[in-house]
C-alpha cells in the first residue's frame, strides 16, 4: 500500500506552492509520485530519490579525489575553520528552513562572520530600492481576488515560476475576478519575446538596459507631460497607451524579476518602478512584488532582519551588525579579497557567481553544505551532503509575498544523514567550545 500526503509545499521557487500531493511507499522511505507540481518541482522531489546520491561528508584531496569523513569530522573542520578565520563569509541560506537559518546566525555571531543570502545575486538590489523608497505590495491572494492589471517587468514566470500565472496572477478566478483571465489585462516588458510575453495583451520589447528610462517615461506619461519621440526603443504613443492601461484598472500589480535587478541601473530600476506604483495609487490601487527565486530566500531575509536588523549582506566582524552592499556584499567581498574562509549552505555560488568571484573560494578554507553535487561543492575543501529540506525534513519558509508556510517532511532521508539544522547545531556547539563562549 502507498500513502498520499496532501498539502505538501514545493521547495523550489518563491511561489512556494502548497497544494502538492506526494505518493510515498508504505514505510515512508520512498517517494513514488508527485502531483500538482510543475516540472521543476516534480524533479526536485523525485531527484531526492536518486540512487547515486552522496550521503557522507567528503574532503577534497589534492589529486581531485574525495575522501569520506564522518559528520563529526566535518563539524570539527567547519568549526575550526570559522574559529580561525579573521573574516569568514557565510553565504547561502535560501534553500534551507528558518530553523537552520537561526542556528546559522548564532554561528555567525560567535565567529563574527559576514553573512549573506542569495539575494546578493537575485533581489538584493530590490532590497536596496525598498530601503530608498518603500514598497507598496500585497499578498498573492489579493492579486487573485482583485487584480485586473498585471505587469510582468523583466521576469518570465512561464519559465522561472511556472505555476505563478495559474495559481495567482493571470488565470485564477477570485472573489472580484470571476472571469479569471478575461478580467485581466496583461502587460509584459522584456527585451525578448519570452513565452510570458507571447501571452500578453501588450508587449513592450524594450532595449536592454534602458528600463530606468522607460519607467521614467511612464511617470511622465501619467502626468501628461512632454516626452521624446522614442524611449528605450519604444515609441511615445505606445508608452502613453500602456500608461493609460495601467491607470484605468481597479487593482494593478507589477511583478518584476532579474531582468531589472541585474541590468544596468539595478536598484534604481526597482526604485523607479516602485515610484511608478506609488504614482498609480493617486489614480487607482497598485502594488508591486519581486518574483523571489529560491523558495526561502525571503525567509532568510526575514530571520536576518529580526535578529540582526538587516535583510542580507551583513558584516558582524566588529562584533555588531553593519550593512552596506558594495562593501559587505558577497560578490564584492570575494572579488576585492576581503574574506579568508567560505562557508556555503543552501545555494550554489560556484554556478551562480561570476567566475572572478568563484576563483577566490577555491583558494581558501571552504565548506559547502548541500544535498547536491554542485560547482560549489566541486571547488570547496569539504562537502557536507544533508537531507533535502522540504522533502526529507520540514521547517518554516517564506513565500515571495512574505507569507510564512511551514514545509512538510514527506520521506525519511537515507539512513544516517543529517538535516542542515542538525549539522549546524554540531558546528555551533563545537564553535562555542573553541571560542570559550557559554
Amino acid at each position: 500500500m502507498t500513502k498520499t500526503i496532501t498539502d505538501v509545499i514545493c521547495p523550489f521557487c518563491g511561489t512556494l506552492c502548497d497544494d502538492i500531493e506526494v505518493v510515498v511507499s508504505d514505510d515512508g522511505k520512498q517517494l513514488l509520485e508527485v502531483y500538482n507540481a510543475c516540472v521543476i518541482g516534480s524533479e526536485k522531489f523525485l531527484h531526492s530519490q536518486a540512487k547515486d546520491r552522496v550521503t557522507k561528508p567528503r574532503m577534497r584531496q589534492d589529486d581531485g579525489t574525495w575522501k569520506d569523513v564522518s559528520y563529526d569530522e566535518a563539524a570539527d573542520y567547519t568549526a575550526q575553520m570559522l574559529a580561525k578565520a579573521k573574516k569568514p563569509l557565510m553565504y547561502g541560506w535560501s534553500s534551507t528552513n528558518c530553523e537552520a537559518q537561526s542556528v546559522g546566525n548564532e554561528i555567525a555571531e560567535i565567529s563574527r562572520a559576514c553573512c549573506d543570502n542569495t539575494a546578493a545575486v537575485c533581489h538584493g538590489t530590490t532590497l536596496i530600492a525598498v530601503q530608498d523608497i518603500g514598497l507598496p505590495t500585497c499578498t498573492l491572494g489579493e492579486v487573485k481576488n482583485r487584480a485586473d492589471r498585471i505587469i510582468f517587468w523583466g521576469c518570465n514566470p512561464a519559465h522561472a515560476h511556472p505555476r505563478h500565472m495559474s495559481r495567482y496572477s493571470i488565470f485564477p478566478r477570485g472573489f472580484f475576478t470571476g472571469k479569471g483571465q478575461m478580467s485581466r489585462k496583461m502587460i509584459v516588458i522584456d527585451p525578448r519575446v519570452t513565452d510570458t510575453a507571447k501571452m500578453a495583451d501588450v508587449h513592450l520589447q524594450i532595449e536592454q538596459g534602458k528600463d530606468y528610462e522607460l519607467l521614467n517615461a511612464l511617470r511622465v506619461a501619467f502626468k501628461g507631460e512632454w516626452l521624446p519621440d522614442v524611449v528605450a526603443g519604444i515609441p511615445k504613443e505606445k508608452i502613453r497607451e500602456a500608461a493609460d492601461m495601467m491607470k484605468s484598472g481597479r487593482f494593478g500589480i507589477i511583478f518584476f524579476g532579474m531582468g531589472v535587478t541585474q541590468s544596468l541601473s539595478k536598484n534604481h530600476n526597482i526604485d523607479i518602478a516602485i515610484a511608478v506604483t506609488k504614482d498609480l495609487n493617486e489614480y487607482t490601487k497598485f502594488s508591486i512584488m519581486p518574483m523571489r527565486g529560491h523558495y526561502n530566500v525571503t525567509g532568510s531575509g526575514e530571520v536576518f532582519a529580526w535578529q540582526f536588523g538587516f535583510p542580507y549582506s551583513i558584516d558582524l566582524t566588529r562584533g555588531f551588525a553593519r550593512y552596506n552592499p558594495g562593501d559587505t556584499s558577497s560578490i564584492d567581498l570575494l572579488v576585492r579579497g576581503e574574506v579568508d574562509a567560505m562557508f556555503t549552505i543552501g545555494s550554489d555560488p560556484g554556478a551562480h557567481f561570476p567566475i572572478s568571484a568563484v576563483k577566490p573560494i577555491a583558494n581558501m578554507p571552504s565548506v559547502c553544505i548541500d544535498p547536491h553535487l554542485t560547482p560549489t561543492s566541486g571547488v570547496s575543501k569539504l562537502h557536507v551532503p544533508v537531507a533535502f529540506n522540504g522533502v526529507e525534513t520540514g521547517g518554516n519558509c517564506y513565500r515571495m509575498d512574505n507569507v510564512p508556510i511551514d514545509c512538510r517532511k514527506v520521506v525519511e532521508p537515507p539512513a544516517g544523514m543529517l538535516t542542515d539544522e542538525q549539522f549546524l547545531v554540531m558546528v555551533r556547539d563545537r564553535l562555542k567550545k573553541l571560542k570559550g563562549a557559554a
Binding site: 496532501t6 502548497d18 500585497c138 482583485r146 529580526w306 535578529q307
Partner: protein, 570 residues
C-alpha cells in the same frame, strides 16, 4: 527554583492597595509568596521603589510590518548596533529594535509582559517566530478582525454566534490573544484605494458600516467572555477633527457590559488615544480634543484607554490602517511601504520625525500628556507610545518623567520653537497634576493587567501571583532634585524578576527567564456552518491551503500559556 526576599523596599501595588509602605516581597517557585525559608537570597531594596513587572498593553514589536520596518530602515541602525555582551545577543535599531534588543530593553525597564498589538492572521507564524526570539518577556499577539471578510459577512447579518465561532477558531489557529480592530471597514476599502472616515461610511461591496462591525465584535467578544475586551483603533486616525469620530466609536459601547471570568470590567479598549483626540479643521487650526475624549471616558466605566505618547523622536510609523500611512507619505514624502493581506487586513509603514520645531508635533506631544493627566481613574488609562508610532518604547522613562514632573513638562514646553501655539491649542500649560508612583503602578501594571484579563497573574505583588518584580533605584522618600533623575531611575532597573528568575541586575541582563507565549483557547459549540465557510474561503479565495494556515508546533510556540475560556454554555 531559587527563593528570594526583596527587603525594605518602598512597595507600590494597586492590587493590594499598598502605597509605598516598606515591605518585604518574597519569591518562591516562580510566584510571590507569603514567606520564604532562611535560605532565600536577600535583595536589599532599602531606598528603592518596588513594583510588579510592568505590562505593555499595546506595542508593535513582532511580525511582518515590524520586520518590514527593520528591513527597509538600515539608517535606523546606523552607528547604533551593539555587540554580544554576556548573555546578550547582538542588538540594533533605534525605533525598531531587533527582537533580542526588544526583549532586553523591556526587561531592563522593568517590563515583564508585552502585547503585540496587530497580528495579521495569515502571518501568525511570522509573528510567533519573532516572539520566540524576543527574550524574557511574556508576549501575546492580537489578531486583527475589523476588516476580515468572515467578520464582514457575518456581521452584515448580525450573526453574533457565527462571528464568535470564527473568532474562537482564528484565535486557536493563530495562537492569538484578543480581538483587535483597526480602522474598521476602512482597511478593506483601502484594498480599492478608498477609506472609511466615519463610523457610518459604507464598506465597499460588503454593505456594512464600521459602526456595525464594532458593535458586532463587542457582542461576540462578550458572548465568548474573552480575557481582553475588543481593542480598537477607530476610523479617521490622525486627522484634525478626528475626535468626533472617536466619540462616535466610543458611543457604540453604550449599554454594553463586560461578561467574563477574568475580572475585566471594560468592553472596549481605545488605543493610542492621542492620535484620536484632535480638534480643528486643518493643520493650521489644529488643537487638542483631549478634554472631550477624557470627559467621555471618565463618565463611561466600560471603556479603557491607552495614551500613545509622542516622544519627539525620529521613529517609524506602522499600522494596519493602510490608508492612513498612504496619507502620511503624502505629507512627509518619506518612503512608504504597504502590504494588503488577502481577506484579512493590510499594513503600512512610513518613517516619521516628531520634530520639536514643528508645531503639530509639539501639540501632539502635549495631547499625549493631557490625556493621562485628565483621566480620573488611572486604572483605566495606560501609558503607551504605540511603539514605534508615537515614539519608541525605550522612551517610557522619559514619558514617566514628563508625567511625574510639571517642571520637566515646562522645560520641554519652553524648548519648543512654537511654544505659544502649544499653550494656545492645548491645556498642557495649566495642568499641574504630577503622577504619583501609585498612579504610575496603576497605569503601567495593575490597570493594563486587569484589562487584559491577566489581573490574576501579573500586574501585582499579591502572594500567588507570578513573581514578576521590578526594583528601581528611586527613593520615594527623597525629593526629586532633578526630573532627569526620574528618567534615569526608570531606564535601568536595579533588579528585575520574571516568574521568579532574576533577569536583570544593576541594569544588566543576567538571565533569560522563562519566556511564554500567551494565547486564548476558547471552546465553543460545534458550528458546522462556520467550518464550511472557512473551508470554502480557503478553496476559493485564499492563496494557501487551510491545512497550511495554522501556526503549529514547537518552532512557533515553544512555551505556550493558554488562557482557557469555555463558551459552550450558551
Amino acid at each position: 527554583m531559587s527563593e528570594y526576599i526583596i527587603k525594605n523596599g518602598s512597595v507600590f501595588d494597586p492590587v493590594q492597595g499598598i502605597k509605598g509602605d516598606k515591605k518585604d516581597i518574597a519569591i518562591k517557585d516562580g510566584k510571590i509568596a507569603d514567606k520564604v525559608s532562611s535560605a532565600a537570597k536577600v535583595i536589599d531594596a532599602s531606598g528603592k521603589t518596588v513594583m510588579a513587572g510592568a505590562v505593555e498593553i499595546h506595542a508593535h514589536i513582532a511580525g511582518p510590518k515590524v520586520n518590514l520596518g527593520r528591513i527597509y530602515r538600515p539608517e535606523d541602525k546606523l552607528f547604533s548596533c551593539t555587540p554580544t555582551k554576556g548573555m546578550e545577543r547582538m542588538g540594533g535599531g533605534a525605533s525598531i529594535p531587533t527582537t533580542f534588543k526588544t526583549g532586553y530593553e523591556y526587561a531592563k525597564m522593568g517590563y515583564t509582559t508585552a502585547m503585540e498589538a496587530a497580528m495579521p492572521p495569515m502571518f501568525a507564524k511570522h509573528v510567533h517566530e519573532e516572539i520566540r526570539d524576543t527574550p524574557i518577556i511574556d508576549e501575546g499577539a492580537f489578531p486583527v478582525f475589523g476588516n476580515n471578510w468572515f467578520v464582514l459577512e457575518y456581521l452584515k447579518n448580525h450573526e453574533i454566534e457565527n462571528t464568535a465561532a470564527y473568532i474562537a477558531w482564528l484565535l486557536r489557529v493563530t495562537k492569538g490573544y484578543a480581538v483587535k480592530v483597526v480602522n474598521p471597514g476602512g482597511t478593506e476599502a483601502w484594498a480599492w484605494g478608498l477609506n472609511c472616515l466615519s463610523v457610518n461610511d459604507p464598506v465597499p461591496y460588503f454593505d456594512i458600516t464600521p459602526a456595525e462591525i464594532v458593535k458586532g465584535l463587542i457582542e461576540a467578544n462578550e458572548y465568548l467572555g474573552l480575557p481582553h475586551s475588543v481593542h480598537i483603533h477607530p476610523n479617521n486616525l490622525g486627522n484634525p477633527g478626528c475626535y468626533e469620530t472617536t466619540l462616535d466609536t466610543l458611543r457604540l459601547a453604550e449599554g454594553m457590559k463586560a461578561k467574563n471570568k477574568f475580572g475585566r470590567e471594560s468592553v472596549m479598549h481605545l488605543t493610542h488615544t492621542q492620535f484620536h483626540s484632535y480638534k480643528g479643521t486643518n493643520w493650521g487650526d489644529f488643537e487638542s480634543g483631549a478634554k472631550e475624549i477624557t470627559d467621555y471616558v471618565n463618565q463611561n466605566k466600560n471603556i479603557t484607554i491607552d495614551t500613545g505618547n509622542v516622544t519627539l523622536d525620529e521613529t517609524t510609523t506602522m499600522t494596519a490602517d493602510g490608508p492612513f500611512e498612504h496619507h502620511l507619505t503624502g505629507l512627509n514624502h518619506l518612503k512608504w511601504a504597504n502590504c494588503d493581506v488577502e481577506l484579512e487586513t493590510c499594513a503600512g509603514v512610513v518613517p516619521y520625525i516628531y520634530s520639536p520645531n514643528i508645531s503639530v508635533c509639539a501639540i501632539q506631544w502635549a495631547i499625549g500628556l493631557e490625556i493621562p493627566l485628565m483621566m480620573k481613574d488611572p486604572m483605566r488609562c495606560y501609558i503607551t507610545t504605540d511603539h514605534p508610532n508615537a515614539g519608541p518604547f525605550t522612551r517610557y522613562p522619559r514619558v514617566i518623567k514628563w508625567l511625574m514632573s510639571k517642571k520637566a513638562r515646562d522645560t520641554q514646553i519652553n524648548a519648543f520653537k512654537h511654544k505659544d501655539k502649544v499653550l494656545s491649542q492645548t491645556s498642557i500649560g495649566s495642568l499641574d497634576k504630577e503622577l504619583s508612583l501609585y498612579e504610575l503602578a496603576q497605569m503601567t501594571r495593575a490597570g493594563p493587567a486587569k484589562t487584559l484579563g491577566l489581573g490574576h497573574m501579573c500586574g501585582g505583588l499579591k502572594p500567588g501571583m507570578d513573581a514578576d518584580v521590578a526594583v528601581y533605584n528611586f527613593n520615594p522618600d527623597k525629593p526629586v532634585a532633578n526630573p532627569d533623575d526620574i528618567e534615569t531611575a526608570f531606564s535601568r532597573c536595579a533588579h528585575v524578576f520574571k516568574s521568579g528568575v532574576e533577569v536583570v541586575k544593576h541594569g544588566e541582563i543576567v538571565g533569560t527567564g522563562h519566556k511564554r507565549t500567551l494565547w486564548v483557547n476558547v471552546k465553543v459549540n460545534d458550528n458546522p456552518q462556520v467550518m464550511r465557510d472557512i473551508n470554502e474561503k480557503f478553496i476559493k479565495y485564499y492563496s494557501m491551503t487551510q491545512a497550511n494556515y495554522e501556526a503549529l508546533g514547537h518552532h512557533f510556540v515553544p512555551n505556550p500559556y493558554a488562557l482557557e475560556v469555555d463558551a459552550t454554555h450558551v
